[in-house]
């Protein structure tokens, strides 16, 4: 075990995969200079340029700013013997390559009757909450969840970041990773050796019996904080489930937890309409209606673009306070005065 940051864990998974399989290559904008901190030696940005030195320009490649052709090139390379990792930096840039994602990456294997496999990983970070304004703050994973043929991971801890990314790279199917920038600095003990966390297995971030909170990406630590606060103040036992993989989604784990608790809150940083929270809620009401004791409540970003000013932006994403308010609602607990105030200060 070694203490590793989320960002360092991504670098470590990439390094181990590059060492293990020479078909793995990385390309993207500014990867040679390790601008985003994941093509260095695995811990900090100060190990700048290491990957380039270790693996050379054949396997570590700067690209022009041409997302659409980068994604297409990766798809073509993946169909012909490589296992590319494409660093797309910000999730807001994925739109540039949407045709390639939907029409080539997701469809080719299927359309061609299984002749192709598509072992490729597309990494991008969600930079919300950092005062970068509407263009850079997107959390677009729900629209990719609506596209059959893509797999999607959204790890919330350094361990998951390392183990899931490694499984993604080793998968023969295309995987998109959505990494919340707000989690980049988070640290924990992570196994130093190689390990794989299977795609499609949820993690129980906290066990509990009274209510289930399914939380995604940066909402996971917020949900855990809300759970701790409620345990302390109300003696309530909150279970927090982190799906970690959004496609395939561990629907069973969610249903098992709801069968135990009878109550569900879903928290995620994406926009509300047609988000992952909608999917989880709809699935649960269809499959576990009989055990539900209360409405399923979603805590999401509103259907609004992201404003720049700190005064405006901080209210846009789920926080421990808005999650606590939702848990109180499904448990029929009185709204805590403090939580209500903080919730209305921090979210609408």
């Amino acid at each position: 075990m070694t203490v590793m940051s989320f960002l360092g864990a991504i670098g470590a998974a990439q390094r181990e995969a590059m060492d293990a399989d020479e078909r793995v290559i990385i390309f993207g904008e500014d990867v040679e200079a390790n601008v985003y901190g994941t093509t260095g030696a695995g811990k900090t940005r100060s190990d700048k340029g290491d990957f380039l030195q270790m693996y050379g320009r054949n396997r570590i490649r700067n690209t022009p700013i041409s997302e659409e052709s980068m994604v297409g090139a990766a798809a073509g390379a993946a169909m012909t013997g490589l296992r590319p990792i494409v660093d797309l930096s910000y999730s807001s840039f994925l739109y540039m390559a949407m045709d390639q994602f939907v029409n080539q990456v997701a469809k080719n294997r299927y359309m061609f009757g299984g002749q192709a496999s598509m072992p490729v990983v597309f990494r991008s970070a969600m930079f919300y909450g950092l005062n970068t304004g509407a263009h850079h703050s997107d959390r677009p994973y729900p629209m990719f969840m609506n596209v059959p043929g893509l797999k999607i991971i959204a790890p919330a801890t350094p361990t998951d970041a390392k183990g899931l990314l490694r499984s993604a790279i080793d998968s023969d199917d295309p995987v998109l990773t959505f990494e919340a920038c707000l989690l980049w600095g988070s640290k924990e003990d992570v196994p130093e050796e190689e390990f794989w966390i299977p795609l499609g297995e949820a993690r129980t971030a906290r066990e509990g019996t009274d209510v289930t909170v399914v939380a995604i990406s940066s909402s996971v630590p917020e949900a855990v904080a809300a759970a701790e606060a409620l345990a302390a103040s109300e003696g309530v036992s909150v279970e927090v489930i982190d799906p970690r993989t959004l496609v395939p989604l561990d629907r069973d784990a969610i249903l098992r937890s709801v069968h135990k608790t009878g109550r569900l809150v879903v928290a995620e940083p994406a926009h509300r309409t047609c988000g992952a929270a909608a999917e989880i809620s709809a699935h649960v009401v269809e499959e576990a209606f009989g055990v539900l004791k209360a409405p399923i409540v979603r805590v999401t970003a509103p259907d609004m673009q992201i404003p720049f000013s700190t005064a405006l932006e901080k209210q846009m994403y789920p926080t421990r306070h808005t999650i606590e308010a939702a848990i109180r609602r499904v448990l029929d607990l009185p709204a805590s005065a403090e939580a209500t105030e903080l919730a209305s200060a921090s979210a609408q």
Partner: protein
């Protein structure tokens, strides 16, 4: 111009005939409802397809577009599974999942046709990247139309493959129309001339009905690519005889009445037949070849007819390599 063996020349004619016969049959089958949906024929464009594909070698790659049958046929794909695919049979080259718009035959290097205009261009570049990283001598070629030449992804791909010096050939099939739209009304400048700004040769093959002219231009580009000298853009001027897609019933009023007649006089198969005759190939031999090809198409149709439709459950395979579909 490289001297080609008579066998190669005959094989060129054979492949052009295959495309013609296959597409003529497919056209009829669409109109009779035997093939569901529509198909886009390459009739009239055979020289451009075969001149290009026969400049490639085994192991090389192609990607194509909606005008999609000629490319795999040019690469040597057997006709039976292609025809079965058009009809949606289980024995189709894509198990009936692809259809006319999405033919692919990896066994002959055909990495897939694309119904989305322009979308398969970077896929070919990716195959070239793969060859380059793996250090093989493989080359990739992307077929696309004059219409597709206005999709931005082409220029991104030209730039990126230039920077990475990839063994890829961008082959624009300029049949002068995109659906009803004349190329000159939606194209500013000349397509082949766009290569220069991206640091690569741009060749315009004015006589795209001459299979040898196309073969020559593409061979030069292939040799460059294999020698590690990077990508090329080739624009081939050609013509489609039929409407944009069979059964669309848009008609072809958007084309001057006599234009087609003029092009029919330059028919690539007829022209090349004359060339072969001038090389001493007998009319009998050529007639026999035509008959053989027609028989091949008959066989492909018989194979198709004898094949079952896929079981409905097949729709739920092949999305992922390792995951069962779960609703």
């Amino acid at each position: 111009m490289e001297t080609l063996s008579i066998d190669t020349l005959l094989e060129m004619q054979r492949r052009m005939l295959r495309i013609r016969a296959f597409d003529e049959r497919a056209s009829k089958m669409v109109k009779r409802g035997h093939i569901p949906g529509t198909v886009h024929t390459s009739i009239g464009q055979e020289a451009q397809v075969v001149g290009a594909t026969m400049a490639l070698s085994p192991g090389d790659y192609t990607t194509g577009n909606h005008r999609s049958h000629g490319h795999p046929i040019g690469m040597g794909s057997p006709l039976g599974p292609l025809m079965a695919e058009l009809v949606g049979k289980a024995t189709g080259v894509c198990k009936g999942k692809g259809g006319s718009l999405h033919l692919a035959d990896f066994a002959v290097g055909s990495l897939g046709e694309s119904g989305i205009v322009g979308s398969s261009i970077p896929i070919a570049m990716g195959a070239a990247l793969s060859a380059s990283v793996r250090g093989t001598e493989q080359v990739a070629l992307a077929f696309f139309g004059d219409g597709a030449a206005n999709q931005g992804v082409l220029y991104e791909s030209m730039n990126l493959s230039g920077v990475w010096n990839l063994p890829v050939i961008f082959l624009c099939e300029n049949n002068q129309y995109a659906l009803s739209t004349p190329a000159h009304t939606v194209t500013s400048g000349v397509i082949a001339d766009r290569a220069a700004g991206f640091g690569m040769p741009g060749i315009r093959v004015e006589d795209g009905q001459d299979v040898l002219a196309v073969h020559d231009a593409v061979s030069t580009a292939v040799a460059r690519a294999r020698a590690g000298e990077g990508p090329s853009l080739i624009e081939v001027v050609t013509y489609r005889y039929n409407e944009h897609s069979e059964g669309l019933r848009l008609g072809t009023d958007y084309r001057p009445a006599d234009e087609r007649e003029a092009w029919l006089k330059k028919d690539p198969i007829q022209l090349f037949r004359e060339h072969l005759r001038s090389q001493g190939v007998s009319a009998d031999e050529l007639d026999a070849m035509e008959a053989e090809v027609l028989a091949e198409v008959d066989e492909a149709v018989a194979f198709t007819d004898a094949s079952p439709y896929p079981d409905p459950s097949v729709a739920f395979d092949d999305l992922y390599t390792d995951t069962e579909y779960a609703a």
